[in-house]
Structure formats: C-alpha cells, structure tokens
Symmetry: C2
Subunit: 759 residues, 2 copies
C-alpha cells in the first residue's frame, strides 16, 4: 500500500464541481405531487380543534391527512420511539406537525397549509432542563415514569470525592454549550411513490437508509421489506439526517397519492423549527490536582436539554460522560449525566455527539488549573496526557495509537505557537492578540452493546470493471471516494475501473448508518474483505484461462491478470464476460471489535458505551480582538490529528477544516437566541455561521499513526476536529483579553464587557 496521495482523486469531485451530481433534492419526477405539513407553532399545548375543510377545498389539493390517517403506531425514534408522525392530541414543541397536505403544486400546497385551522389549548411549557427536573415542573410526557428525566447515568472510577478532598488544589466551574443547528446545504427532502407492485419506493436525503425502512414500517404499520430507500450523495448531514426527517411523513403521503410520485422538501425556516439540534448542555465540574499539577480527581454532573423527544439523547449523554475526563490521566472520577425533556427543539445527533460538550468543560478546567498553578496550559496538558496502555477516565484502556501528547507536541512545533510572542507584539492599534491550544479526542464507532457491522458487495462487471455497492451514505465527507481508493489499491486497478453504486436497499447490503466516525473503518474493512475475495476469485478464474496451476503466482495489474512464468495474460474484461453473475459477486462483512472486559461502571448504558478506538488531535487558535467593537477575528488555526494511516491527505484535511469551521461557528457565531422554546434566530439572516471570509487559514498536521485493525491502517476522524476551537478560542481570549469564558458562543458583547469598553 502507499502513503497519502499527493493528488486526491476524489471520485465525486468532477460531477459535483460541474453541477452534474444528482442529490435527492434534484429528483423531481414530472407531474409529481408536493407534500408538506402544518406545524404547531406553539411549544406545548393540547390540540382542541383541527379544521381542514378549507384546506381540502383548495384547488389542487389531493389530500389532507391528520393523526387519524396514520395507519401504524404513529411513533418514530431511533432507540426510544416517542415521537409522533402527526400529533393528534398534544404538541410538545413548536415544530410538531399536526396535518399533512398533498397538492398538485407548491403554490397550492402553501395555500392549503395556510388554510388549516388548528386550535390549541396552551399548556405550561418547560424550557430549562434544570427546571424541567423540578418535582413540580409540567411534564412533557405525562405517561413517562420518570417525569421529565429521560435518561440518567453515572460513571465512576476509584473514589473521587475522597481523592478530591485530599487534593492540593481544586478548580470548579459551570460551563454552558449552546444548541446548534447543522445548517446543511441540502435541506431535508425526499421523493416517494407506491409502485403497482406494492413497493414503497423512496429517494431520501438520509444518513441511514437501511434503518429508515424500519422506522417507517413501525410508524406506519408496513412490512419493512416492501420499502426501498435510495440515498444519493447528501448535501451535508452532520448527524441531522440520522433519524427520520421527512421519511415517515413522505411515506404517509405516498400511501395516499394513488401511486403518483410525491416530493417533500422542508424549507430552511422549517428546518430550523423542526429539525434536530445539538443538545445544549450545562456542566458543573470540579478537577483536583497535586501541587505539581498531577491530576488526581474529577467530579461533576452534566445536564443535557433533550427537547421533547428522545432521539439519541441517552446515547449522546453516555458519550459525553465517556469523554468528560478528556485525554488525560485521572485516577479518580465520578461523573453523572442527565437528559431532561423540555419543550425546546428536539435534541439529536450532531458531529461530536456529546463529546463537544464535555470536552469544553474539561479543557476549560485544565486552563483554570493552569492559571491557578501559574503553569503554561500546554505544559500542564503534556504532563497529564494519557499514555498508550493507560486506562482513561472511565477505566477503559483504549487501543494504543498516537495520542494527545503527540498531537499537542505537533501543534506546539508550529510557528503559530513558537512565534506567538512576536505575533502578539505586532497587534495593530486597538486590537489585542492571544493564542490558545487544547487537546481533542473522539471515539470511533457505535461502541459496545450493538454490533457495529457492515456488509460490502463488490461486483466484477461483464466488461471487466468493478462496481462497489456502497451502503453508507456519503454526506460530503468523502467516504464513497475513499472506498474507490481502497478498492483500487487492494485490487491494483486504476480508480477509473470502479463505479460506485450509492446506497439503495434493493441492491446494496446493510451497513449501518453514516455516523460515529465509523464509515470508512467499518464498511472499508468489509469492502477490503470483499476485495480479498475478489482477488482470490480473479486469480483462481484467471488460472483456469491461463492453464496455470499456481494461482498464487499470478499478478493483478490494471485490467489484466498476468502469469509471470509465461508472460501470458488474461484481460479482466474476458473474465467478466465468462463468469456468471453469481460468480462475479464478492460479499464480505465486518464487525468492529468492542471493549472485551468493560469496567463495571456505566452498565446502565445498554448501547454505545464504552468505546475501544479513539482518534486524537490538538488545536491551536490565534485570536485578534477588536477593542472597539468586541469583534473576534481568528488569525490562525492549526489542527493536528492522529487517526491511523492517512489514505488521502486532502480528504483528511477537508474533514479537519470542515470540523474546525463548525467548531468555530459554535464558539463565536451561532447563537440560537432560544426563548420559551422559540429560536429567535430561526433563519439564516439571524442564525449566523462563519463564511469563508470569516475563517482563517486552517493548517492540518498529520501525526504518524497506524491502526492495525483499520482498513489500510486508518481510523475514522470525521468528528474529532470539531472539539478544539471552542476551548482553544476560550483560552486564547483569556490570553488576549483576560476573559474567563464559561459559555459559548462568545459574543462581542461579552468581550466588550470584559474589556471594560463603551458602556
């Protein structure tokens, strides 16, 4: 195998660059119907009336459906199914849907939706997770046995309270991270129809086409095997398309469309209103150390705002607890976590999946400890960085690999660090400069408790080329292209010899969701297994054609199998033409290894705890604060990453830069302005994300690493890069302006206040 490709032959680049790639949103069958929903617009209420007569009478309207038209359980949700497809009695957040309209045109659809007369009897809402857990808080799900406590977990190692009492120094803090919207370019959308054969045929922008079948089947009382889901390339997902968005509503529409195609697209405002969000979190934590800075104990509690429905809140909180100690050596820990139901938007999966929240807390504590001890924050981190073979904060010893110390050391050697003093001195008038560095880590895969599995299918075509049946959607992260690169290397073929079939439950084999930094690792390993089978098959079949009785000596090269003993060769095109289809297929499966002897702690987490594989990184942010406006400009961002072997330097760099940009957005730009369950910033004129002009150059440093069980040595790394900017910017702002950041995003107002600016 080779090292990183200098030129990354990204398989999807050209089609995307010229606009030829067809996303789900680009599928609009001629004559299709349009579907949309009327949403509650109130955060918590009983539905007292729903008059759809005027909507039904609107010209061009084909059907108006309500709760009574939902044939199945009317319940969706990845693990806990508590979210209705259409609400019938009660709405629990402003985005809850109460009626579904099918119309001949988007105009008729909009008109009909506006004519639905829904009457609500408001209920007291609960909008703060801490308040939600009060005994007398209004209940979001009155039937839920634990009131508004959706999930609780405790992980413990050693005796943290006692150890903390013995510490020479302790620091405490309460840290807040905000709700965040994914702001994917391609809005939630899909197209569906019921075929004459009774198949519900769907094209959806989804991260989990195979699971979608079961979601839809459960919600609507269908046979999952009669549902076909296709998932073209996504225009972004970031977790926000892991779990049903349009799926069940669209399926319900298709069941009522008389066999016609139906299309549903949420607009941007609807997506802000109804889409999943990163959980806002509050973390109260205390870290204790010896006088020399050696960490001794960590205690704390994490509280997540789940919104009204479970989605993956419990699992996200578990991952937050697993990462709450950071990549540091802490002998005693006691961490508890809670998820509270509220009437805010629905919390769900988002790149970083709980890790972002608890990383911010531990990294801020490390800075506070460094300040208290008069230490350099980087040196304190290096002193305590977890070494290979050492158990982490929850008592698990992850697989060895390059860790936080290597990653931090790489960043500290960068001129942005070594020459920071000069850079700070050169600050223009009325600006202050500061630099911060932090560590990052992110587990890979689903974790223990459910199989992190993938099945890959590879076909030799009749023409002697190959088809990869990709089963995990590519939402832009480039995994599909990585599969081509892997297969091309494994089979010694040029990448052009491979066609990629994008996920389609009819033709591809199940491989789980596109999430959890798992796609290249899990499906990649399955694909390489299929490639090995294919190579053995090609040798064996070519041996027959070449009258060679030692297939092992045959050599695969682009388009050919050659016998070096005779110089004779057989083109793959000839093999492809000769073999029957069943013999041109290779299938292999892979299941990611899990922690074999987990500690007793965290046993209450059935799914997704703990993890065996981690990727690491470090992040430097150099900030420049405008003393007059409080505006923060990033002068430089440097990210190092240790993620096994790098198959494509460009691919890794793109992921690192994208993740860092999203982390920067959360740290400095994205303020949902949530109030009483309503996002004050519910459109892109108010919810600001960084543009290219707002971002600095982001340097990506690769730390030498190798994952023996990974495909071509890699580990997943789509998420790890998002965790650095928040704490690194916070540390840099302290360096620049003495600001003690405990809450993200940091606003110009916060800075002006800290600087004692114009009041």
């Amino acid at each position: 195998m080779t090292g990183p490709d200098a030129v990354f032959p990204r398989a999807d680049a050209l089609a995307k660059a010229v606009g030829a790639e067809r996303y789900s949103a680009d599928v609009t069958p001629p004559g299709c119907l349009w579907a949309g929903v009327r949403r509650a617009g109130v955060a918590h209420a009983l539905i007292t009336g729903l008059d759809v007569a005027a909507a039904r009478a609107t010209p061009g309207v084909v059907a108006v459906l309500t709760r009574r038209d939902v044939p199945g359980t009317n319940r969706q949700g990845i693990v806990h199914k508590d979210q209705p497809v259409l609400c019938g009695e009660r709405v629990r957040h402003r985005g809850d849907p109460v009626a579904l309209v099918l119309a001949e045109s988007r105009e008729a659809l909009a008109l009909a939706l506006s004519r639905i007369d829904a009457a609500f009897s408001p209920l007291p809402g609960v909008f703060e997770p801490a308040a939600a857990l009060d005994r007398d808080a209004p209940y979001v799900h009155p039937e839920h046995p634990d009131g508004n406590l959706l999930a609780y977990g405790l992980v413990e190692k050693g005796d943290a309270p006692t150890a903390l009492a013995d510490c020479a120094v302790t620091v405490s803090g309460e840290y807040h991270t905000p709700m965040q919207d994914h702001v994917f370019l391609e809005l939630p959308n899909g197209t569906a129809r019921l075929t004459p054969a009774g198949v519900l045929d769907m094209v959806v922008s989804t991260q989990a086409p195979f699971r979608d079948r079961f979601e839809i089947a459960h919600a609507l009382g269908l046979n999952p095997w009669t549902i076909r889901v296709r998932a073209p390339y996504l225009g972004g997902g970031f977790g926000g398309k892991d779990g049903a968005t349009v799926q069940c509503l669209l399926a319900l529409a298709a069941l009522n469309a008389g066999g016609r195609w139906v299309k549903m697209v949420w607009d941007r405002e609807e997506t802000f209103l109804a889409g999943y969000k990163r959980h806002a979190a509050v973390m109260r934590v205390t870290l204790g150390a010896d006088a020399d800075g050696t960490l001794r104990a960590l205690t704390g509690s994490l509280l997540f705002d789940a919104g009204p429905y479970a989605h993956l809140s419990g699992e996200i909180m578990a991952l937050a607890l697993e990462h709450a100690g950071g990549p540091y050596r802490i002998p005693h820990t006691r961490l508890e976590g809670s998820c509270a139901y509220t009437n805010n938007p629905v919390g769900g999966a988002f790149r970083g999946f709980g890790v972002l929240q608890s990383s911010f807390a531990i990294e801020r504590l490390m800075d506070a400890l460094a300040t208290r001890l008069g230490r350099d924050p980087a040196g304190l981190r290096l002193q305590n960085a977890l070494g290979r073979g050492e158990p982490n904060a929850i008592g698990v010893t992850p697989e060895p690999g390059a860790g936080a110390a290597e990653c931090l050391t790489a960043v500290l050697a960068h001129p942005a660090w070594t020459e920071r003093a000069a850079w700070k001195r050169q600050a223009p008038p009325f600006t202050r400069r500061g630099v911060g560095v932090t560590c990052m880590q992110n587990a890979m895969g689903y974790g223990r408790g459910l199989p992190d599995a993938a099945a890959a299918k590879l076909e030799l075509t009749k023409q002697g080329t190959f088809r990869i049946y990709n089963s995990v959607p590519d939402m832009g992260q480039g995994n599909a292209s990585a599969f081509v690169t892997m297969a091309a290397q494994a089979l010694h073929q040029s990448p052009e010899a491979f066609a990629l079939i994008q996920p389609d439950t009819r033709h591809c084999l199940p491989a789980g969701s596109s999430s959890a930094s798992r796609t290249t690792f899990t499906f990649g390993n399955a694909l390489l297994g299929a490639c090995r089978a294919m190579e053995a098959k090609l040798r064996a079949r070519a041996a027959l054609a070449l009258l060679c009785d030692d297939p092992a000596r045959l050599i695969l090269s682009p388009g050919l199998v050659t016998d070096p003993a005779t110089g004779a060769a057989v083109p793959l095109a000839r093999l492809g033409a000769l073999l029957p289809r069943d013999d041109r297929l290779c299938v292999d499966q892979f299941v990611m290894a899990v922690v074999e002897n987990p500690p007793d702690t965290g046993r209450q987490f059935k799914l997704g705890f703990p993890h065996r594989f981690y990727s690491h990184g470090a992040c430097l942010c150099a900030v420049e604060v405008d003393e007059l406006t409080g505006r923060v400009r990033l002068g430089r961002c440097v990210v190092s990453v240790a993620c096994g072997r790098v198959l494509s330097l460009e691919g890794v760099t793109q992921q690192v830069q994208g993740a860092a940009a999203q982390g920067i957005g959360l740290a400095l730009f994205e303020d949902p302005a949530l109030e009483n369950g309503c996002m004050g910033a519910g459109d892109l004129s108010r919810y600001l994300i960084p543009t290219a002009l707002d971002l600095p150059d982001i340097d990506c440093l690769i730390v030498a690493d190798d994952e023996p069980t990974g495909p071509l040595g890699l580990r997943g790394m789509g998420e790890v890069g998002i965790h650095g900017p928040g704490p690194a910017i916070a540390q840099a702002l302290f360096d620049a302006a003495g600001l003690h950041v405990t809450r993200l995003p940091v606003t110009p107002e916060d800075l002006l206040s800290a600087l004692g600016g114009p009041e």
Copy 2:
C-alpha cells in the same frame, strides 16, 4: 468433526431406491423428436457416396443431416480436436457417424437410418498399435505430422541401463491388458432444444457439463454462453461420459428441430460400437534388484492403442508412466510410452486412466522377481514399499500419507491371508486354490499443468434452509451426498436442511469434470470454503438481530443461531427472510496444489504430469480353479485403502467394491474379441461382466490416514480400488495352478492349457 458415520445418510438413496430419481434418460418431453445417426460399419474407408433421399422421404422424418450441415469446425476432442461430429470424406473406425436423422418417432428414425445408402471405398486398416508405428503402415490421419504416433513420452530418473547391468538379478516380461467397455447402466443420451431466446438448452448424461459447452461451441460454431447444459445424476460414467458422446450430434439436431425438443439415446450395441474404451496396452518391462531383493532399476516401454482419435490418450499414457514403478522405491528408472492411432474403437478415459495398465506390469514383475529369488511376494513388496518422504519412480516426493506398506500390512493381517494355508488345503475335489496380494496406488486430480479448480456456491434460502449448487456430476460415486454431509457438519445443521442443485451451467459455477478422483477433494474444499463464509455471514447477521457485538461467541445449531451469553436465539428462517438474495449467497473457489518443483523428466507432458497426492491400497484375491472346466471362482477379495479420513464408511466401501468388481471383470470376464477393428463381443450376450453371483464378498479395510489439505481430511479414492484384482488374481493363479499370467483377461482356455487338461 466426527469420524466415519455408522449410518451413511446418502442423500440420493431413497429417490434412487424407489425409482423416483430422474436421470437424463428419464427426460422425454411430450412431442419430442428423436435423433440418431448412421454409423460407418467399416473400419477405414473413403466415403464415395451418401444417398439420403430415401431416408428424407420416409414418413415422420423431419431432417437428414450430413457433414455439409455442420456449421462449425466439425471437430471435437478434449485436448486435441481431431474427431469429426459427422464424417464427410473418410471414416476411421466402424463407429464413425456419417449422417444424422431427426424423426417424429423412434420407429421412423430406425426406418430412415436403414434407408441411408452410404458407399465406401475401403482403405487398408491398421489394428495393432505396434504395426501402426511401422514406417509403411497405412495412416489413420494422413495429415498428422508423426504418422500414426499420436504421442510419445520418456521419463527417466538416474541411469537405469547402467544400474540394470549391475543388478544381481533381473526379470523381464511383456504384459498385455485389454480394451474394456464401461458398461454403464444408463446409456449415452440427452435431450436438447433451441429456445426462442436462442439458448441451446440441454439435459445430458455427462461427466463434464461445463466443458461440454466449449466442445459443442467449437464443433458447431456457436457462442458457448448461449449453451446451457444440465447434468442430472448419471446412471454410471466411469470416464466413458468424460468427453462428448451425444453432445455435439444432439446439439446439431436441436439446431435443426425448429425449436422442438430432440432426444438422442444410443442403444447398447451402438455404445459398444461408438463409445470410448479403455486403451488396450502392451508393456515390455525389465526390473533389476540386488540379491537381497532390493530394487535397483526399471526400464521399459508402454504402447497404447489410441484408436482413431486422440481423446485423452496422451494424458492417459503419461499417468501410466507416472505409475509404472508402482508404490516402490526404485532408484533408477527409464520408461518410455507411445500412443498409436489405429482403426480400432476410440480409446478414452476409464477409471484408473492408464494406471491400471502399468500397475499390472509392475506388480507382475514383482511376482516374477519374488519367484526368481524364492521370496514371498508380499514380503518382497513390504521390503521395497515407498516410505513417506521418499521420491517415487519418476523422482517426485508425493505428499505424505499412509502408503503401500500400511495398506499391505492391513491385508496381511486378514484371516483370508493368515489362514490361507488351511483354506487351500480344504479345496474340494478337482479344484485348486491360491491366494495373491498386491499393492495399489492412484494419483488424485488433474496434476500439474492445468488448474484443478472448483467454485462452489451455497445459498441460504428464504426459508432458512440451504441450497448446495453442486457443479460436479454424481455418476453414482456419491459425491453429491458427500457434499451434503460436509456442509451439514461444517454448518452444524442436519442433512435434511440441505437441498442439492445438480449441475446446471446456468445456476452452478464451473468446477471441472467428474473425474480423476478429484470431485470430493476439489469441490469439497471449495464448498467448505463457502460454508466458512456462510458461517461467518450467519454469525455476523445474527449478531445484528441479537444486538450482540461479539459474533464469535454465537453458536450455530440446527436451524438456529444462539447467543450463549443471553440465551437469545434467532432462527435461520428469520435470517433467510431478512437478507436480500445477494447476501444469502456464498461462493468460494479452490485450486488443488501441484508439485512445485517437478523433476526435469516428463517436461514434454504439458498437462496432467506429475501429481502430488496419491491414495494407496492393497488387494488380496483368493481363487479356486476348476480343473475340469478351467473356470475361476473368486473365493474372497479383501481390499485395504488409505485415502485420508473417511467421511462415510459406507461410501468408501461402495467405491472400493465397485472398483474391485470392475477390476475383476477386466481380469476374468471381459473379452472384447477385437478383430480387424470389430468387437466380436459387441453386445451383452457376448461381452460378459461379472454379476453379483460371480463376485465374492469384498471386504474393505480402512487404513488410518489423514490429508491435512483435504476437506475434512479426505482424499479422493474412486479409482484406486480397480488396480488390485488383475495382478492379485494373476499371482493367485500362479499360487493355485502355476499359471504365468501375462495377458488379461485370463480365460478358462488359458487355465486348461496350463493345467494340461483335456486336449
């Protein structure tokens, strides 16, 4: 894995016992046409006229075809394509076909065939292979560059002429083995039609359905991929259905049948006339030894009667040369072999494939040497038996395994040997008794030079049972049933869970021919590979259903996959229902290992020389000679066999007994009475094979053995048992009556002559 099954659950037993099994001969589509050919009836002639007008005018006749109607090369043959489908200018043996008739009924067919008026100008024939090699002999193929010498080979090790000159004792002999007919129960037959889609769909009693497509395509100028060949269970084959019998003629008929089904069945007399035969051979050999009996050198020449067409004559001669030294330690050898074209019936593959001929010669020489030295023939063999790791007579060191000494020792412990003196003393009046023992060996597989490969396909059905796509025809030897046993053991399922799909080029994958003792080894290994893939698949898929993240701990049991950690189980029926078809298939391939560093000798043999794997055996025959009639009765036959691990004791015993019976037939019964190319015994009233009443009890002794590379430890053994009876009976007849047998079959006249009986 378990040892030999006490009860052999032969998958095909019940259907065959009750007559429900459908052989190719049982396929007679309603309204099908009947095809047959007019054969030359002269051994060597030019065709001077062929009047088919009367035949065409016969009521019920659909077509009469001649050479001019053959669209392709008109040439068939497994390696050398020198045999016409229909002869146009010349006939080279009495069975050569000159015209093909299609008729509505068998009666019309017979009448039309009788009305074909063929005129021949006789050519001088050549009927003795030695005479055929004379410079002035008539040529069978005038265009053949080497005259009537079809193939020549020389294998040499050390310096045999010099070593022979130094020997204390030498013995020489000229040994003859006869032509032999396979006398399979099911005659050559098949059914074919050209479908509207242009597919030539055939059901044929064949040992090589996958190769047949290429034979037909080459001969008739067709695309092989448009030919589908199905091979139901055969009612016997023994090599006689390896190579085209009806195939090309039947395909030609189907091309001219207007899309109707056509059936062709050769009758018994036609099969004697036109079918392939075991090559008659003459072997002049000399064996030298030290005074203590240690073998020193072997020289000799073998001459095979190929008949008029090549078939596999060269390859058969090569195998004869490879086995000419027997399983004995002989430091110096020089052996040459020739195949001569003659106008006798066509020589071809037959169980034992050349080995039978040269085994008779070497075993007879061993007896002659024992006589000369005054030694016990068994003791002399034990003294010289090849040990593990020792090179054989052509300088190849075969894979280790139980050998001739172990097999012979097993037979010598049998009461038929230990109590032979008493048994002989108890001979009734006017009878003499004698006992003989010999060794046997037979290589397995195609040997070096062409891949001995198989691809196996295994399917989990939607119902949770399995389908084995068997690719190697079962001609009665039981390989198909063995595959069920193997798969059932490998997957921990009951044999009833497996359905066997018999060879069908449309649905099964290529796996070579049913021949060369290779089927259970080669396809069995491929099948076990597919089973391993299936087991991994079942574990991986069940793990998903059971939410188990450690597939390795799951347990397969009949119909279930169980998680011992939780007790939860998922039925295979559920997995079958869930998985798409492409994921219910497992395919694996296997290529038999070959000799990696063959000696320089025998390089002229491109295909099938030398071999790496051998099975061994020993054979005891106890004979009783009637002094008054010369009739020989076998009192006892004991056969030991070392063939790796025994999967089914009953299966191995059946093969040993069947092979021994066929060897006994050749030794004592089957006299073709060949004269001027005409079989005097051309029907079953004159060509006698032993019936059950003619055969003794045949005891089968298993010698403990294990083949590490074999499926479940086995090696193929369908042929080895045929080699013993000839030389063992010869030795026994010397023991009983002092007869020096040099020529098989031994007739009552030979014995009466030796006994000095009534003249």
